[in-house]
Amino acid sequence: MASFLRRFKPGDAVNRLIAAHLAWIDRCTRNNPRLVLASTLAAVLLSVVSVVNIRFETDIFRLFPADRPALRLLLDSLEWSGGARDAYFLLEGEPTQLPPEAERFAARLKALQVEGKPAFKRVVYRLYDEAEARSFLELIAFAAAHPAAFVPPDKVAELAWRLSPAALPEALSGLTATIAGSVGGLGSQMAVADPLGLKDLILPRLKAGSQALDLDPDSPYLLSRDGRVLIIIAEPVQPMQNMAFARKLVAAINEAREGSAVKISCAGAHISAVIDEAAMKKNIQICILSALVVVLGLFYLIYRRLLLTLLIPVNLSVGVLLALGLAGLLLPSIHIISFAFMALIIGLGADYSIHLYDRYHSERADGLDCNEALAVIITDTGHGLFTASFTTALPFLALTISDVRALSELGLLVGLGVISSLYATLFFVPLLLRLTERPGLVYQTLPSFGLSRLWLFTGRYAQRIGVVAVLFFLFMGAAVSQTSFDSELKNLQPRHSEAFHAQELIEAHLNLAPRHLLLAVDDATLEATLARTAKVEAFVAETVRTSKGSSWSALGQAINSKEQQQRIITSLGKPLSSAVMEQQLLRHGFSLEPFNDYLVQVASGSLNRVVDDKTVLERLSASPLRGVVERHLVQDEAGWHGLTYLHYHPDRLNIDQFSASLAEVDPKVRLTGMEPVARELLEAVRNSFAISVVIGGALVLMLLLLHFKDSIGIMAPLGPVAFGATAMLGVMALLGMKLNFMNAMVLVTIVGMGSDYGLHIRHRLVQGDPAGEERRFVQVGRSIMMSAMTTIAGFGSLAFTDYGAMASIGWATNFGIGFTALAALVVLPAALRLVGERR
């Protein structure tokens, strides 16, 4: 390939083109500074217009590819359950404090108004609503008349006894005692609804089936078993995606929870994003600001040019604005997390300014005048920057084809940001330098920061450095094998955010098991859905029976299918007759008239009748125990969805085996859970990463070939990158840091940015006479050192943010850039000596 390129000299042509382009920039800044300024101003204004119209999103779910099956089902289930739209309030405190505080807070939520209208459609904080007593009695009456549909199959013997004539006297005596011990009419009403006392067999099952959380069965509140956490669920009147409404609602909620004696956290798929929005923005702003301060501080410390230092933020702002403005034209909205990557642009933009200025200062100190020095930095250093910026931008731009929005947005923003920063620097820095030039201004030789000695050291001990580097590389390579991947999405969230805290609370106090899987059967008709769901349920029940799962929940656990009803009826044998019942009721002093409905049903054979699914579901849906249905069966525009939950411990269940076996039961059943979702995301990230590496790497290789036209020219930039990336992964593994969906992308950053270091060193070293190598190395080495420091300050400062995703990126960048710079400044000069490279 290299010989081919040499023979046909496309590199020369491209390099000539780049040189001509850079010379044009030099002419523009020299001859038409006002035109450059006016054009920049116009571009900035257009960018501002574009930026103002950008819609910044906070919905975390929009960052992920919704076409993946597990993720799709997760999003569907959030819609079905209300998890996406509802607000969840978690009250934590002493068990004695929670109920009264819940009463007070629920009252405040009910009274809460946004724009003069109630903020919530419903506020649920108790298991029972007294207003539903009537519908509850109606359900009991129906279930008591049709026990085969509701009594658990393992209680058939108990049911058979209660339906036997011999058990009637005991049941009716108990009924009399219940009426005697009750006050008001409920004892009588319950007696009429359920004269045989079958509710004891029916209710525990229905109650368990309606609960998605591990709640205290004795409490009237949605209270954890340990009494430490109480949940209130509220459904906002408008969707939380309506950001104007959501922000006002959150402000009202914050006001409502002021002065509470217990801690109240608010969570919900969308509301969490709004609540955390301000904190996230503040976090990112602090990060960007601190990066800017550190970058400028370093710049001033080394070059001592105050005006230039103060004007660099203008240059950086132009780069950022142009990037955002362009992104705004290409994207309908930008996620707030993607916006955080603008910190990287600040670091990179500062790098370019440093390279240009350092070279300018050095050339001026060597005796060139302003115009000559500017021509050199634009056409020569600028050439290096041009190639370097495109080797950085292209791997990122390659990410834009990723189906993971988080990555495609990141790729586009950073890619555009790098290129816009380059042009902002190439156009703006010469103008600034001319502006700050004064007659008689003396350019002192810049400090070498020990780089001169380092150059001599790497030449003298080239071989030893090479050996140590190889050993270190191998050691780190071995450590890389210990790298693990953290697929827990929760850990990417801000550690002190309410969403994070709420999830921790739920996991600690309310989860039924450490993990759960949701299995969905989708079909056009209710009958088909239930029939297929029953098979899935049987499979899941078997999984639990063999101890691979800890528990499960499905419609079939709360009510019986028609087949089960038939089996129960067969086991019951001869039905209890209404005549016997009438006789016993009279004997125990009861009037027959109030029991007429029940007796008529018994006479018609209801105790031994199979009830169709639709009727049972309608009865349940109309009762306070409608949660049984809502949790396990959904009807939407797409049809019916039967849902089965499997609670499991991650150590006991092999998801792959389970999925494979499940596919044999029903190949169309969908499955989701944190593990499948994490796997899909991992796969998507891995694919995106591979695409980026392949496409971006090929483009980088081509650029390097065009720039250097030889294999050493390719190895010089990529060698430090390989070293830096390996060392980064090795150190992370040794320190117990895990790769995750976000910091994995730092590898792309290292490839793009890290390759600049070796490129600049090689670019400068091959120029001029061998005697000037040390001077050139010192100059470019200083730039690289500064670049690495500003990048670490800019991007690495994310390490100290509260945002888990950003912090992991920050640490990875610190390690990656640090080791890549080290390799470029120490190992590369030694290696170049070893291969005997000069010009």
């Binding site: 109920p99 009264p100 819940a102 009463e103 108790r126 029972y128 007294e130 207003a131 007593a133 509850f136 005596s173 108990g174 009399t176 005692a177 219940t178 009426i179 005697a180 011990g181 009750s182 006050v183 008001g184 009419g185 409920l186 004892g187 009588s188 319950m190 007696a191 009429v192 004891d200 205290d216 004795d218 409490s219 009237p220 509140y221 002093g589 009861f590 009037s591 109030p594 029991f595």
Partner: protein, 220 residues
């Protein structure tokens, strides 16, 4: 006071289940504890205020209970005997003797009940605002107005004061009547529902401030 009565009546009208009803019974009972008597017909406000004042000097109360219950589902009238106990701020217990044996204990908002000799102990935690201490706390405030829509009559016959309360609306509870003596001890409580069900509770051998302790409110 108005809110208290509204609440009591609302509860009586919309009870969710048996056990909760038992709790409400205790609330009504407590409201109707010792009161003083006068020699003339009372205004509704006076009647209610007298109930509240009577409660102020009470620390505990115990009595034997005879209850007659006429319910629509039973042809015959149920007659049962038992005991009731109350201790401030949040204890109430009722025990019915065989043949309708049942025991009920209310510890603020924790309700325990066992029907029959071998019946399963049922435990229910009532919502906080329905806890006994909440009601006792509310009853400490003077009655300044009558509950809206509620019909109240109060009269005095000799040493006995009778207060009849008829709630507004079409709830299940039609009328509550209480009689108490001028020595502050309750004699009779009548609960009448719209469906014709009627319970009459007669209290005998009543004692107040006899030094009841937590040991008297146990449910094994």
């Amino acid at each position: 006071m108005r809110r208290i009565f509204q609440k009591v009546l609302k509860i009586c009208v919309h009870p969710l289940h048996l056990l909760k009803s038992a709790c409400y019974c205790s609330l009504v009972f407590i409201m109707l504890l010792p009161a003083s008597a006068s020699a003339a017909p009372l205004t509704p406000l006076e009647g209610l205020e007298r109930l509240r004042l009577a409660l102020q000097g009470l620390q505990d109360f115990s009595a034997e209970l005879t209850q007659e219950k006429q319910v629509s589902v039973l042809k015959k009238k149920l007659v049962m005997k038992g005991t009731v106990r109350f201790m401030k701020p949040d204890r109430f217990a009722m025990e019915l003797f065989p043949p309708y044996k049942s025991r009920m204990l209310l510890k603020n908002n924790l309700l325990l009940q066992r029907i029959g000799e071998r019946g399963e102990l049922q435990k229910i935690i009532l919502p906080e605002d329905q806890g006994l201490s909440q009601w006792i706390g509310k009853l400490s405030k003077p009655v300044s107005s009558l509950p809206e829509g509620m019909e109240i009559k109060a009269e005095e016959t000799g040493r006995v004061t009778t207060v009849m309360i008829r709630p507004a609306g079409s709830g299940q509870m039609k009328e509550i009547t209480v009689q108490f003596q001028d020595d502050g001890l309750i004699r009779r409580l009548v609960l009448e529902e719209r469906n014709g069900d009627r319970s009459t509770m007669i209290f005998g051998k009543a004692r107040k401030n006899s030094g009841l302790t937590d040991a008297d409110f146990r449910m094994e």
